[in-house]
């Protein structure tokens, strides 16, 4: 690490004020602070600080995604070898998945960070860590066979329109990762739905790579008659976006986030409750295949769990008050199921539900806060 320190110290003058590349200082600063937590001491306010910072927070969210990433890679391989009817080992599956997933990851991070750095440099502020998480989320919610150029375009769209136009990390209204997915979904629907994109190699004859939701939405078969059962959906041995299939892996991530105090347990749990209750009510009606799918199955399939744990909890775009978080979560769950059931063109209701609630989150907060304000004003009135 001495080497890094020396290297940084040698090049620093070039980037400092008056140096040749002073405009690129934010880029230098990003690398320096990535390698070293700076030796700045507190100058005003509290003399000591909690050890947590945004880098740690973001790194921890990525850590919580690790089970999903590893499982997702395995599942890419497993689904591929099943599609071509070949036997494969655990390692073979993971290695195959790794080589499919890596390009997505590289494109997501390199394009996204390039845009972030460009904005940071042009505005002269430091590079925010927000994209560390978004950059990992985006490939996890894409179909494995999404063309890389399409991924790149969606990332640029998400970072520029989803985030930077509002002022960067912390200022955005919509979840950037979901913005990327929504962009692709509406711009190139044939690559984001159907039965060919979810499993690599699904174009072989006689194999249908459609997702459970896709199958149910076509209303030709009910849950009971599908190939998959609840335990397949729980462990995640089903076709779908890279990281969304395994409920188990997502649950491990959720536990890490909640226990560490980084993800909001309020949002996660209330989203599940909202989704379950809504699905349960529609069970009673039971008009089509999706309505009659058992409520707990609704929580296992599609992007519901992944969205609830990693997307709805994005603190910037979710409600910010504790009460608001519960209402927000309930509504995300409600709309996700509602959209699934009533709009077969968009069987993945979670994405749209979260984006919709992102927009309404400030309104929820407004009402929660005005409750507090009213209490204070009535106390004042009582006194005078």
């Amino acid at each position: 690490m001495k080497i890094f320190r020396n290297l940084l110290d040698t090049v620093k003058p070039i980037f400092d004020k008056g140096g040749k590349l002073e405009k690129l200082y934010p880029a230098y600063d990003a690398f320096e602070t990535f390698l070293f937590v700076p030796g700045h001491a507190t100058h005003s306010g509290t003399h000591i600080k909690d050890s947590i910072d945004l880098k740690r927070t973001m790194a921890f969210v990525v850590l919580a995604m690790l089970p999903c990433i590893v499982f997702g890679m395995w599942n890419i391989g497993y689904q591929y070898y099943s599609a071509i009817s070949e036997e494969s080992t655990l390692i073979e599956n993971i290695i195959f998945g790794f080589w499919k997933f890596l390009p997505l990851l590289i494109v997501s991070y390199s394009v996204g960070l390039a845009v972030e750095f460009a904005f940071a440099i042009s505005r002269g502020h430091s590079v925010n860590e927000g994209y560390l998480v978004s950059g990992m989320l985006i490939p996890l919610i894409m179909p494995v066979d999404v063309p890389l150029w399409m991924l790149a375009v969606s990332v640029v769209f998400a970072v520029v329109i989803g985030k930077e136009v509002f002022g960067g990390t912390g200022m955005n209204i919509l979840n950037p990762a979901l913005t990327a997915r929504a962009f692709l979904f509406f711009a190139y629907p044939s690559y984001m739905s159907g039965d060919k994109v979810w499993v690599h190699g699904a174009s072989v004859d006689g194999y249908s790579g459609e997702t459970i939701l896709g199958a149910l939405a076509s209303n030709t078969s009910s849950w009971d008659s599908l190939l998959w059962n609840a335990s397949d959906a729980f462990y995640g041995i089903i076709p779908g976006s890279v990281g969304e299939t395994s409920f188990l892996a997502i649950a491990i991530g959720a536990l890490i986030l909640i226990y560490a105090g980084i993800g909001s347990g309020r949002i996660i749990i209330s989203t599940f409750i909202g989704g379950y209750l809504t699905a349960y009510l529609f069970n009673l009606w039971g008009y089509n295949a999706l309505m009659s799918t058992p409520a707990h199955i609704h929580l296992l399939i599609g992007g519901f769990a992944f969205g609830a744990v990693f997307m709805a909890t994005d603190p910037v775009t979710a409600s910010q008050t504790n009460k608001g978080k519960i209402i927000y979560g309930l509504l995300v769950g409600f709309f996700a199921i509602l959209i699934r059931i009533f709009n077969p063109a968009y069987p993945e209701g979670m994405m749209l539900a979260i984006l919709l609630m992102n927009v309404f989150a400030p309104l929820i907060d407004h009402y929660v806060i005005s409750g507090n304000v009213k209490k204070r004003l009535s106390r004042l009135k009582l006194k005078s």
Partner: protein, 474 residues
């Protein structure tokens, strides 16, 4: 109709007190939110003694928003209790010398602002004589003017705004916190040991300043000493829970929250002793018991000293090697001073910790068994009782708000603090009032600032907000 009822109730309330009948509805309040930061270097409960240091300093900057008007010049001789300066905008409020001696220097800063008055103390302190015989029968007005004249008034602070109380106001209540919960704070049970009578005398005087209740709030986690638990003429409440349970601001919020236009006054227990001494003994004796603590102190101990004392003698040959920072006050709200600096007016502890100016390689990625955090993102959560040696490192850089709900975990008040901070950032006065800024002072939100992932300076933002309101309401 409802309002009418309210008024009726209030008038009854006042009548009760006019007859000197006290409510003894003591409250037992348990707070869950908050955070105790376990630091190494707690002072042992023994008194150490050092050579008397003759350098004393009174800093007008210890009093927020004060414009001092000097009444002494360099070379003047003063006794303990002689006025040094007064408040330019409220000339009744005197600030007096803690010791007798000679004014040696008046240190000025930018725009000739007065920063320090340096006094070279006599070996034996002579006191200005005050004659307040019969003070038990003093009316409220007599007490107030005696305290203003004698330099005791600055000990009385008010909420809102966390400034010296306005003597023309009558507070709706007086709140005294008998304990401090901030890291490494002094133990008032120990510091006031044996001063039961003086403390009671002080309480009797103080409680005359309000028509409402005088609250004395005890630590519900421990058994308080007799001076506090057997105090009379006040309402004794118990607060338990982590820091900031000992902050008066938090206590007022739970006892009798401040509305716009109201004020509550507060005094520190040791200052109540000084008030009692002045009236009963006729001298301005501002002896202080302080703790010298923190990880860099070799032998953390208690000391008897005097307000404004130079602290160098406590620290010479009493520090570990290495870079350090000396703080007058605690690590959350105190002020950085030099090793030959002086005790702040309201401070009762000197904390010395490591200066953290060493960069750390991939510090954000390490497991962090040795890193304190409210979150469980460092493996230190495996050892909840461990004591930490936390340096002054920033541990990250300032960022825009990303994380939410963090402040709520450490502020045991019904206030949307993050929204309030945002309303201060955009200077929305009405929103600040609506969200309860009058109930807060910077020290109450110090923990929010400590835990903030984005390293936002919450205390100074609250201060800015309060200052803006002082301007708006004047």
């Amino acid at each position: 109709m409802f309002c009418f009822k309210g008024i009726k109730y209030r008038s009854k309330f006042i009548n009760l007190h006019a007859k000197n009948v006290y409510y003894s509805m003591s409250k037992n309040i348990k707070l869950k939110k908050g955070l105790n930061i376990n630091l190494v270097g707690e002072a042992d409960k023994v008194y150490a003694s050092v050579k008397f240091n003759k350098n004393f300093v009174i800093k007008p900057t210890d009093f927020h928003n004060l414009t001092p008007k000097l009444v002494v010049k360099v070379g003047d001789k003063v006794s303990a209790g002689s006025p040094l300066f007064f408040d330019k905008y409220n000339d009744k409020v005197n600030f007096c010398s803690p010791v007798s001696g000679e004014i040696t220097e008046i240190v000025r800063g930018a725009k000739r602002r007065i920063l320090e008055l340096r006094i070279n103390s006599d070996d034996i302190i002579s006191y200005k004589k005050f004659d307040f015989k019969n003070y038990e029968n003093f009316s409220r007005e007599q007490l107030v003017s005696a305290m203003l004249e004698s330099g005791l008034w600055p000990f009385i602070k008010q909420r809102p705004y966390d400034v010296i109380a306005k003597h023309v106001d009558v507070p709706k209540a007086i709140v005294i916190s008998a304990f401090k919960s901030a890291p490494l704070s002094i133990d008032n049970d120990f510091a006031l040991y044996g001063m039961d009578d003086l403390f009671q005398k002080g309480l009797d005087i103080i409680s005359k300043l309000t028509n409402g209740i005088t609250h004395l709030n005890l630590d519900g986690n421990t058994n308080s000493s007799k001076a506090f638990s057997e105090a009379k003429g006040v309402q004794i409440n118990k607060f338990s829970g982590p820091h900031p349970a000992g902050n008066v601001g938090v206590q007022i919020h739970h006892l009798d929250p401040i509305n716009k236009g109201e004020s509550v006054w507060c005094v520190e227990p040791q200052d109540i002793i000084a008030i009692a001494r002045l009236f009963s003994e006729g001298k301005f004796d501002v002896s202080r018991i302080i703790s010298v603590c923190g990880s860099q102190v070799l032998k953390p101990r208690y000391y008897r000293t005097i307000l404004g004392a130079c602290i160098s003698n406590f620290l010479v040959d009493n520090l570990h090697d290495g870079d350090y920072r000396v703080i007058s006050g605690n690590v959350l709200t105190g002020e950085k001073i030099n090793i030959d600096g002086n005790l702040g007016f309201y401070d009762t502890q000197i904390t010395v910790i490591k200066e953290g100016n060493e960069p750390e390689f991939l510090g954000w990625a390490l497991p962090g068994f040795n890193k304190f955090s409210l979150s469980r993102s460092f493996f230190s959560w495996l050892m909840p009782t461990k004591k930490y040696d936390i340096s002054t490192n920033m541990r990250g850089e300032e960022r825009a708000y990303v994380v939410t709900g963090q402040y709520d975990k450490v502020l045991p008040m019904d206030i949307f603090i993050q929204q309030l901070i945002k309303s201060i950032m955009i200077e929305d006065v009405e929103m600040m009032e609506n969200l309860g800024i009058y109930e807060l002072s910077p020290e109450d939100v110090a923990l929010c600032e400590f835990v903030c992932t984005s390293k936002i300076e919450v205390q100074s933002l609250i201060r800015d907000g309060l200052d803006l309101l002082i301007k708006e309401n004047s």
